[in-house]
């Protein structure tokens, strides 16, 4: 029997607001436990809620980059359940009037491009975090994350393969991080994905029993979880070894298995109702326009432009458009040095090899782009050669030196004085008789070595082109 996997995704993304959804506490990740907590987000009584407008701005931005309709009127609801990480005993969310509906995203897979449709995006508040302390056998609660604004992006059941899921998440991450909606870091929990999965015979239009898998914190874990869970469903259908029930399952990536958390029948009745503490909010077109104006060029549009009009390689363009920060660096340098290919080479070949060696992620590269551009200019106008340029770039990145002053102070200027170079060449020929005779015997390979010796002799400052020409003339004579 041939089976088809049918999946829909619920992706939670923490919004990049400075403060929480209803109070002025910081929403930043990484604080000490319960450092960012006030009476309001600890659920104390007496504090009416005021909604953070920035959260709505960012949710609108999320809707725009995913081709959603933005609702003219939105409202919030209370979802009631007891859990120690939920300070008020209800979660503020949007069930009845979500902010965005009917979106879509196109993704590229090995099977070609695919159109994924979105049911809705809604805003809600995050809960706190429980920390189980094995030593004291107690559970502690950290409310730093409580009331941090989230959006939940709900797709239709359009996915058929794990590849589609991971491509979609990658595209979503790119779209949302470019739009400044979220930093979308799965490891830090600012992007989380639940997969609703069912299996059916190919050709059937009836959906099979669905399970929801949670707790995957990397794209790889998601792919593994889908592989495991779909196989579990298929085994159950084929062998009848277990009965599939509609349930929520927790993925354990260490063990590589999913485990039942709760069955549908055990699920709480959340008793949703419109939150009377937040009045409906009207979103008019001028509000939407004002958000649209602030959106940067999306990664895929930029990719088209880089590979098209700018004529850059797909690989390079893919790396640059993979990070908003690299795009910014590219743009800022390009503004000074209007040579796209040159700028990309410097970023790809030089800057990234330096930053990778020091373990700095693409999003965290902090370099003075004016100085970076100035350095490229120095090489471009032959003030220094490329090898020296690369060394100076390390200094620019690590110490923020001024390249022009640095080159001058350290006398790194390129030497193309033929008299000086000829003298150096003569010395090298004398010192490397063996290599010279190999070259004259027809070995081209050894030529590079001899050039290297000349460069060494000139402390790396010689103009390689002049050296090449002079050396050829000398050796071939």
């Amino acid at each position: 029997m041939n089976y088809e996997i049918v999946m829909g995704l619920e992706v939670h993304v923490e919004l990049s607001t400075e403060s929480k959804l209803f109070c002025s506490c910081s929403a930043k990740f990484g604080a000490e436990p319960n450092e960012n907590v006030c009476p309001a987000c600890a659920g104390m009584p007496g504090l009416p809620v005021r909604i953070n407008k920035k959260a709505i701005d960012l949710a609108i931005a999320a809707g725009l980059v995913t081709n959603c309709e933005i609702s003219p009127v939105i409202a919030f609801d209370k979802k009631n359940y007891f859990y120690p990480d939920l300070p008020t005993g209800y979660q503020v969310t949007q069930l009845f009037a979500p902010i965005c509906t009917n979106g879509w995203i196109d993704i590229e897979t090995e099977m070609g491009s695919k159109h994924i449709t979105l049911k809705q995006i809604h805003i809600e508040e995050d809960a706190g975090k429980l920390v189980h302390d094995a030593r004291t056998r107690s559970t502690l609660v950290d409310f730093n994350r409580a009331s941090v604004p989230l959006i939940e992006i709900v797709s239709n059941p359009d996915f058929r393969t794990a590849e589609e899921v991971t491509e979609y998440l990658d595209k979503l991450r790119s779209l949302l991080s470019f739009a400044g909606v979220s930093d979308c870091k799965m490891q830090e929990g600012s992007m989380r994905c639940d997969v609703n999965i069912s299996v059916r015979e190919v050709g059937s239009d009836i959906l099979g029993t669905r399970t929801e898998i949670k707790n995957m914190n990397s794209l790889k874990a998601i792919a593994r979880a889908i592989e495991y869970e779909s196989q579990r469903h298929i085994n159950a259908l084929e062998t009848g070894c277990e009965e599939l029930v509609q349930e929520t399952r927790r993925w354990d990536d260490d063990i590589g298995m999913s485990f039942s958390m709760r069955e549908k029948a055990q699920e709480a009745d959340y008793r949703y109702f419109p939150n009377p503490e937040i009045l409906p909010i009207h979103i008019d077109t001028s509000w939407i326009d004002s958000i649209e104006r602030t959106l940067p060029e999306p990664a895929h549009v930029r990719f088209e432009r880089m590979t098209g009009v700018l004529g850059l390689p797909e690989y390079d363009s893919g790396i640059i458009t993979g990070s908003l920060n690299l795009c910014r660096i590219f743009d800022e340098v390009l503004e000074v040095i209007n040579k796209p290919k040159e700028v990309v080479n410097w970023i790809m070949g030089d800057l990234l090899s330096i930053t990778k060696a020091s373990g700095v992620g693409d999003d965290d590269i902090d370099i003075d782009c004016k100085k970076f551009a100035q350095l490229i200019g120095l090489v471009d106008n032959k003030t220094i050669n490329r090898a020296v340029g690369k060394k100076v770039l390390v200094k620019v990145f690590e110490e923020g030196i001024d390249p022009e002053a640095y080159v001058k102070e350290n006398a790194l200027g390129m030497v193309s004085d033929t008299g000086f170079l000829e003298a150096a060449i003569a010395e090298v020929i004398k010192e490397n008789e063996k290599s010279v005779s190999e070259y004259r015997a027809g070995s081209q390979k050894v030529f590079g070595f001899i050039v290297g010796q000349v460069m060494k002799k000139t402390a790396g400052k010689a103009d390689p082109q002049t050296v090449n020409a002079l050396l050829r003339a000398k050796l071939d004579a």
Partner: protein, 357 residues
């Protein structure tokens, strides 16, 4: 202590207005419990905006009054002539204070005030900040005043009203203040009210035209109130779970037992009943039958009011005013409490009718 749950040791200059706070209004550093064992030992983390405004106006806060738990008792009076015992009202009646700030979402405080020959003045929903008010029923929560005269109450309301960015449900701008007194004001009397008025307070309305009016769903106000108050209250008190602050049971075997024992031991019978009814009307099979149905009636009720036809409505209770967020004054009469209701923002209309009495 008498009416007080917390009596401040303050000097009161002669002639100063003395205000007592209901037990759900916060004053930073002072205990506040909203009458619940759940909040025993809880200290106000903030001062209510209304209190801050009063203090700035040199009005003396004399303490806070005992109250029934979360003010919910008023929902469960079985006889319509029953009233609750409200210590904030008693404090005004006995002269321990001049004005009381209360959140009378059920209308029962107003009725208790009228029984003591006092007034309860409830401003337009969203006109007084609820920052520092322990919430019970957010769609109706509103600070109002118990007072001996319309003038005294209006004075306090004028001080505590006004936009506060710390409350997300506030009227943004100053609302129109309603009829300016040109010509006779018209008071709408729902069916049956005419007789009550003729027996008792007709003098008040001598200067007004009275018009008999038909109010859609007026007969089910009380049921709608019950459903909505219980639903909202059930969510509002969910935060009292024994985890973070307030009461926690001493012995529990696991998390569920912690919740159950803490809430069982600390919440009173009325609150438990309201929470159960609230959970019931919001549950999956009942939501549209009860909660949503009640909300639809509430909207229709509000839409059916036509303040072009009349300037105020006289009603036997405050339900219509609370459900529609309208300003109202509950006053004494021979036939029990009566509530006069005006359009949103039109407190002055009420004052001008009642001052003529």
């Amino acid at each position: 202590m008498g009416h007080f749950v917390n009596k401040y040791n303050v000097d009161c200059p002669k002639g100063a207005v003395r205000v007592i706070l209901d037990g759900s209004i916060m004053h930073k550093g002072q205990p506040v419990t909203a009458g619940s064992k759940m909040l025993e030992g809880f200290i106000s983390p903030i001062t209510a905006t209304a209190v801050t405004k009063l203090e700035k106006a040199d009005i003396v806060i004399v303490g806070s009054a005992k109250m029934d738990e979360f003010g919910v008792r008023g929902l469960f009076l079985t006889d319509k002539h029953d009233t609750i015992v409200c210590e904030a009202v008693e404090a005004i009646a006995s002269g321990a204070a001049d004005v009381a700030l209360c959140n009378d979402y059920t209308g029962a405080i107003g009725a208790a005030a009228a029984a003591q020959n006092l007034f309860y003045m409830h401003p337009t929903y969203g006109s007084v900040s609820r920052y520092g008010l322990i919430s019970a029923v957010p769609s109706m929560d509103q600070i109002g005043v118990v007072c001996k005269s319309i003038e005294a109450g209006a004075h306090i309301l004028s001080i505590i009203s006004g936009f506060d960015e710390q409350d997300g449900v506030m009227l943004c701008k100053d609302q129109p203040t309603g009829a300016s007194g040109a010509g006779k004001l018209r008071v709408g009397m729902p069916h049956g009210m005419g007789e009550m008025v003729s027996q008792s307070v007709s003098a008040i309305f001598d200067s007004c035209d009275t018009v008999e009016i038909a109010l859609e769903h007026f007969d089910v106000c009380e049921q709608v109130m019950h459903i909505l108050c219980c639903a909202e209250l059930s969510a509002s008190i969910s935060r009292y779970d024994g985890i973070k602050f307030g009461f926690r049971a001493e012995k529990y075997s696991d998390l569920e037992a912690l919740y159950k024992k803490s809430r069982t031991e600390a919440l009173g019978a009325d609150v438990k009943f309201a929470a159960i009814v609230g959970a019931m009307v919001l549950s999956e099979g009942n939501y549209s039958k009860y909660y949503d149905h009640a909300m639809r009636i509430r909207r229709r009720m509000k839409n059916a009011l036509d303040f072009q036809e009349y300037d105020a409505v006289l009603a036997p209770n405050a339900h219509l005013a609370r459900l529609c967020g309208l300003p109202a004054v509950t006053m004494p009469s021979d036939a029990g409490a009566l509530t006069l209701i005006a359009n949103a923002g039109c407190e002055e209309t009420l004052y001008s009718i009642l001052r003529k009495s």
